[in-house]
């Protein structure tokens, strides 16, 4: 495979690959690359890159819509299961955090000069739990989605994201803008609210990428 003189935007290529169904995993990205290299030679790299982004966004939109239309019941079912798991995951996360805090309070009292470090580690631990639990749920949802892992986790993430936005809105009530800005920047509060939604899609994307790589290897082997 020869190298192209101008490379297309990597993120766009990755996103298209993520949303493309298995049966079109070669043809859609290949077609986009072919037209991109034609355009780059004819009209210049900057124009070709803009065209590639525009085409990628529109292609992803069409792939998402046709994916939903092709199997609406499978996606709805998996999203409902995912929402239940997210709820259970939240209960489990809170229980883990509360148990951890209780253990910390009873068994470990750091010297005063280590207090800030201890608080930092504690906050980090809480964020990690709140990220890892949805990440594993995203992976599980991706596994049971029969090749539509990214689509289902994106839908799940959208619902959870709207939910998180409402919770964040409630949390913001009564805070001054300056105080809110400081809280948002200095503490992992945004990660606490929205990290879960991001982690769900990351989980789905990881599973989908692994599955596609595996299939590619299998095809080459055959």
């Amino acid at each position: 495979v020869s190298r192209m003189p101008v490379a297309p935007p990597r993120i766009a290529v990755w996103l298209v690959g993520l949303f493309t169904p298995r049966e079109q995993a070669e043809s859609i990205p290949g077609d986009l690359l072919e037209e991109f290299s034609e355009l780059a030679t004819k009209s210049g790299a900057a124009y070709a890159r803009r065209w590639f982004w525009r085409q990628s966004v529109r292609t992803i939109f069409h792939l998402v819509m046709s994916g939903f239309r092709a199997s609406p019941w499978l996606i709805t079912g998996v999203v409902v299961v995912g929402l239940l798991l997210v709820k259970l995951g939240q209960i489990f996360s809170e229980w883990t955090i509360r148990t951890g805090l209780r253990f910390y309070n009873h068994h470990y009292l750091p010297p005063y000069h280590h207090l800030r470090l201890a608080m930092f580690l504690l906050n980090g631990g809480i964020c990690l739990v709140r990220f890892l639990v949805p990440l594993s749920i995203g992976c599980f949802v991706g596994l049971i989605s029969r090749g539509k892992g990214v689509l289902t986790t994106a839908a799940l993430s959208l619902i959870c994201g709207i939910w998180a936005l409402l919770e964040f809105w409630n949390f913001c009530q009564g805070w001054s803008h300056e105080a809110l800005f400081r809280v948002a920047i200095l503490t992992p509060v945004l990660l606490n609210f929205f990290g879960g939604s991001v982690a769900l899609v990351v989980g789905g994307a990881i599973v989908s990428s692994i599955q596609k790589k595996g299939e590619g290897r299998l095809l080459r082997f055959n």
Binding site: I28, G30, M65
Partner: protein
């Protein structure tokens, strides 16, 4: 149902583009042909979404070609219209023609 199958607007355009291109019909050429003849920018995703829907209905069929370097080593998927697809395109075309018959659209509503 299958005997009286009609095509949607965009499905009709895609089938006509595949017919025009015959042996050379794959994603890029179909997209470019539609853009050239309709003057409308079409995404490759829209073309593939329509083609895979048509394939599921048995109106087109596809086969994989050889990989090429300008495609980053990825292979092309070529499309051909089946006999059923051709019949559906004819039926749709006749229906649209009958509806427009006697209206003299070009003269009456030309902008």
């Amino acid at each position: 149902m299958a005997d009286s199958q009609y095509l949607g607007d965009f499905e009709h355009i895609v089938v006509l583009a595949v017919l025009r291109l015959s042996e050379r019909a794959y994603g890029v050429t179909v997209r470019q042909e539609i853009e050239l003849r309709t003057g409308r920018e079409v995404s490759i995703g829209a073309v593939y979404a329509t083609l895979s829907r048509l394939e599921k209905k048995g109106l087109v069929h596809s086969y994989v070609g050889d990989p090429t370097p300008e495609r980053g080593g990825r292979s092309k998927r070529f499309f051909r219209v089946t006999a059923k697809g051709l019949a559906a395109a004819n039926r749709t075309h006749r229906m649209v023609s009958r509806m427009a018959d006697g209206l003299h659209l070009a003269r009456r509503f030309a902008l």
